[in-house]
Amino acid sequence: MRYEEFKTTVIRAAEKAGLKDYELYYVNSESLSVSAFRHEINEFSSATEGGVCFRCLKNGRMGYASTEELTEEEAEELVRKAAENAAALETEEEEFLGEGGLSYQDIETQSSELPPSEAMTQAVLEGQELLYAADPAVVDGSTTEVMSVKETVAIANSRGLDLSHTMAGTVFVTSAVVKQGDEMNDAYEMKAGPLEETDKKEVVEKAVDDALKKMGAEPAPTGAYPVVFAPKAMASLLSTFSSAFSSEAALRGLSRLAGKEGEKIAAETVTILDDPFYPENLFRLPFDAEGTPAYTKAVIEKGTLNTLLYNLKTAARLQKETTGNASKRGYDGAVEIRPFTMVLKGGDISEEELLMQAGNGVYIDSLQGMHAGANPISGDFSLQSAGFMIENGIKTRPVKAFTVAGNFFELLKNIKGLSDEVKMSGYGLSTTAFAAPAVLAEGLSIAGK
């Protein structure tokens, strides 16, 4: 059964069960990916996935159930389970459904059609040629891949909300593996956007160059000295600690930013936006997971915490307006809070000038182990890093296998400079993303040799 028909069936079942307040949230995703290895197509995959989440209010409590089986029997099961789950809840927090009749920003989408598989195949094979041609040190194991995803999100509820939006995007990814003597290194690079506009040579050569530059790396010396985070490394730090900006985390005592709205929490130069329409992110939605219109807001403005992020429920509890940041981790997840594209705004100097400002220190362009070495509640982090030493304002020898440790909230206060080029981490195929410039910070500890 198709979704539209399933939706009607579920609504009928909900009405029959005497439910007055309910909502269906539907996600359908189609993806294609082609990868090449040793000049040949290695894997091709075509996936369709997705499902429906039904939630309903019963005695003031919100019950959830979801399914990937769109059949008549499942429609009734879904309604029965959601109502049963609502009855098991104990929380007395007031629950909300979004209202219909609001207006939404238009989002221009390039094309919602997946590219033909021949074009994808051709691009990855071309990528293989470019990889091996880039440098004699490139070895087997170097891969190229094209992924294309098209995703539709739809919300319909008993309050007249009936929204649907389709996002699509393609990304060209390469992993270059280089070997010299016994030493092996790899580096990734990617570019999102229409395949015909992607400069594959540039992407591939950047990956090979990055992998080669890391040859002969040794641990950085142990000590406390200035650190410059590369844009993508800074964006991934921001991502790791972004839950601190959630009003839900604040309400639960799981954010150090609770009660700090209006206070100075960062250096004067720090402005962080939440931008649902950030052009580099191909997955832009005009509404949040409750159907509230999405809009751009400053979370931190010139060092002051302007607002946390809210959904309908936390806004009501804290007597605020929702910021339109309701979000679900998958179609079957509960409504939580997440940013769209969170952007640390750039400064007005180039990265070279920022390095000059650092003088002597370390440039970190790779951070690993974010899920283990960082505590989003306390802000403490101790992360495996790689990058380059900075000597007299210039990037010199490569370094690896050391850790950088500090506290994110202290880091925000100790930012001494920001470069003017902002980059986004990730593929740009996710509604939640993070972008940042290169950042010079003090007060961090390096542990190496």
Binding site: F44, G51, V177, D186, A386, A447
Partner: protein, 460 residues
Amino acid sequence: MLSKSLCERVLSAAASTGADYAELFAEKTFDRSVNMVDKKVNAVNDAVIAGASIRVFKGLRSVAASTVDTSEEGLMRCAKRAAEALGEGTAEMEIVLKERLFGDVHPIKIVPGSVPVKEKIDLLKAGYFAALDYDPCIKQATGVLLDIDHNILIANSEGVYTKDRQIRTRMNITAVAEKDGETQSGGCRPGARMGLELFTEQIDPKDVGREAGRQAVVMAGAGYCPAGTYPVVIDNGFGGVIFHEACGHSLEASSVAYGTSQFCDKLGQKIANEKVTAVDDGTIPNAWGSINIDDEGTPSRRNVLIENGILKSYMIDKFGGRKLNMAPTGNARRQSYSYVTTSRMTNTFIEAGTDENDDIIASVDFGLYAKQMGGGSVNPATGSFNFAVNEGYMIRNGKVCEPVRGAALVGTGSEILMKIDMVGKLLECGQGMCGSSSGSIPTNVGQPMIRVSSITVGGR
């Protein structure tokens, strides 16, 4: 689930453009969870995950296609999509399926789906409030009780037609302690391929909560771990994550077959200290990472990966096996039908050794005792790994001293394997969710207490 004759038709269609292997994987999974926060049940979720995936090989080329539509028309469309992507020729492959039954060595006593949600809530509450009541400085706790009923069917052109029902149960309690304005969390997350009897007969939920509370309180009072390079003693249980990250991932065909592992072409060679014997064994009754059959229908088995320091085996799936020219080892796994199967771990551990725990601690003049490890990650190509120490103590003059927080261990797999120079006698396993290209799957990690003679410790 799908009949043999339907599977035969679908596989024939999938192989109609010259495939030399065709496979159908179908799944129906019931995923349920009960969640608590702020002393109250705040979410009860039910999800049905259902779909199928078809894969065809031709030489060293693999095509996979998945669908949520498991009707005959849906499956045939999916098969056609796979066949068209593989080639344009026409070919016929005779498919005759024969049902294979594998013994189920993981008995389930209390099927979670048959238990009213109220009883699950009572079990979770026992654990949750034990955490909250552990100490006055515990300010918040979260709790989840989840159960998964994962039903799979695998049919392939080698004649295999087989099914498995994998039931797993897990409780996850996190406690947050606050002392002098500092917040720290502690957690305990036991799970098994077992029904609810895990928490009615084997593990007291209160112990789960108390352990989470204990860790949070200890760490809230801890100072920072000093940065440097020194000996580290890692305790048993989840401490085995070090082998999982430092070595396990680099022994998966998904990196070995692509030449991106530091252990390529090293079979028969010494890659670890002679004290180290390591095993991947998916047949342990009721263990969290156990499987009767893997997701390609190959029976699970015990694979000795390293024996007294010598590399003996990789972990291999069918496609990786083609590239390596080696037989599959029963390690093909995927989170669900929408991921493409690859080589993964099951229950992976370092075998018990001969050293006494007291001797291991006493041997260290200055070092770190990592009692509880957090998660970690690895880049198989360079072998560089990292992981977090959730509960650590300094060792001075052979004695365990004050607790320290914020420690991370970093290094490379090949290096650390040589430096494991003491191995204790008491092997224990801990439960984790391992993430990789084929999704998030349940795996056990394990080891006895070990000493690493020297490793970089990140702290400040």
